[in-house]
Symmetry: C2
Subunit: 239 residues, 2 copies
């Protein structure tokens, strides 16, 4: 009854973005039966302090609830854990130290998409202030010779933040329209590709069938593909 | 850090049907922020013996894996558990005895849909041989004065079983076409309403925008609504 591979998903940020990652996991795995799909256990508990507010210094830290989620995923037998939220990677080190199961990092998965391919000169980064301040994406891109283009504080205030909260309220169309404006602004400043580094963004752009999706990289999709590759190396052990 | 309410979902049968239930849970809960959504932990591990084959006597029992899932959901702190598969309710008693958290029953949730409303004379039941043999839906309907109309063995073989397995392979359109034929046959025999008592069926009929959906009751939807009502009675405790 042991589970040699069991992916733990630390979700709830928000709960719909977690479902989006789960759909991507299922699509990323070549499978002709249920039994070939990636086994996973999901902590989809949205009763967690707002990450954006915490990093802006206007709200409590979500760390205690994140640690609880990691603990419970370990109790449930997770062999590997992913965090279904770009911004929550701010607390990655503390969570990784607290976990017996190794934590995969969404930025590593995203950088892997560019490996062995012709690289764009400039990549636009659609992300929360917290993710932008952390700088992981920018450092990673710089190490590959790629320049980052970021939203301005004014753009975040006008488009990005209200767009994300619209998605969280279930108003996907409104969210998609606001986030499309953000995407256009980055492309106007020379971004050849876009990284949609907030889990609400791909959901919203898909709702309005945005043309920006054609040049976009979805870190959640990259993470799903990384998990699927890992699962495929271990799938034989189940049979 | 205690979790006064945490819904455990015993899923993986199949993994896509589990996501469908999660979407229904989110839609069934009135919420204007992530934090108001139902907290849940999901065991979406599809490495489990085929339920239909087990009940037909042609494959091993899924009970050991179902018990493991219930155990792990309890370890992760679930306060209530639901089973995201009609057929797996065959093992409901054994699972309920094995769990500290109470298990809600999908048939109770479905019967609640008919309470206090004008009742149909005949309800068609689209379900696996295992669910049909168990008889819970038929007994429940009989207790309300409602007659059940069931698929014939020939219909199951020709439409229902290949339709479900098509969904499990990700061929939703093929599945929807086959299951629409099954739905039509039950309505031709006098069913005024249909109960889609296999989690693959609503997904597939939605894919082909089947007109039968207008007279259908989805037990997974009924279960989601029951969970949402339960959560709403307890939501205040989080604030």
């Amino acid at each position: 009854m042991s589970t040699p591979f069991l992916l733990g998903i630390l979700g709830g940020m928000g709960p719909l973005a977690t479902l989006d990652l789960m759909h991507k996991l299922l699509r990323a795995t070549p499978a002709s039966s249920d039994q070939q799909q990636i086994p996973h256990v999901v902590w989809n508990v949205p009763q967690i302090a707002d990450r954006q507010q915490a990093l802006a210094g206007t709200g409590p830290s979500p760390l205690p609830q994140l640690l609880l989620g990691v603990e419970q995923l370990n109790r449930a037998g997770a062999s590997h854990i992913v965090i279904a939220c770009n911004t929550a990677h701010h607390w990655y080190e503390a969570l990784a130290q607290h976990s017996d199961a190794p934590l995969l990092h969404i930025v590593d998965a995203t950088l892997a998409v560019f490996e062995g391919k012709e690289k764009p000169r400039r990549v636009g980064l659609i992300a929360t202030q917290g993710t932008l301040d952390a700088g992981w994406f920018q450092h990673g891109f710089a190490s590959m010779g790629i320049e980052s283009v970021q939203p301005t504080p004014e753009e975040l205030r006008q488009w990005f933040v209200p767009g994300c909260y619209a998605v969280k309220r279930g108003e996907l169309r409104t969210g998609g329209e606001l986030l499309s404006l953000q995407a256009q602004a980055l492309r106007d400043r020379g971004a050849e590709r876009l990284v949609l580094a907030c889990t609400e963004v791909p959901v919203a752009l898909a709702e309005v069938t945005s043309p920006h999706l054609a040049v976009s990289i979805d870190p959640a999709e990259a993470l799903a593909q990384q998990c699927a590759r890992l699962w495929l190396t271990q799938r034989e052990a189940w049979h």
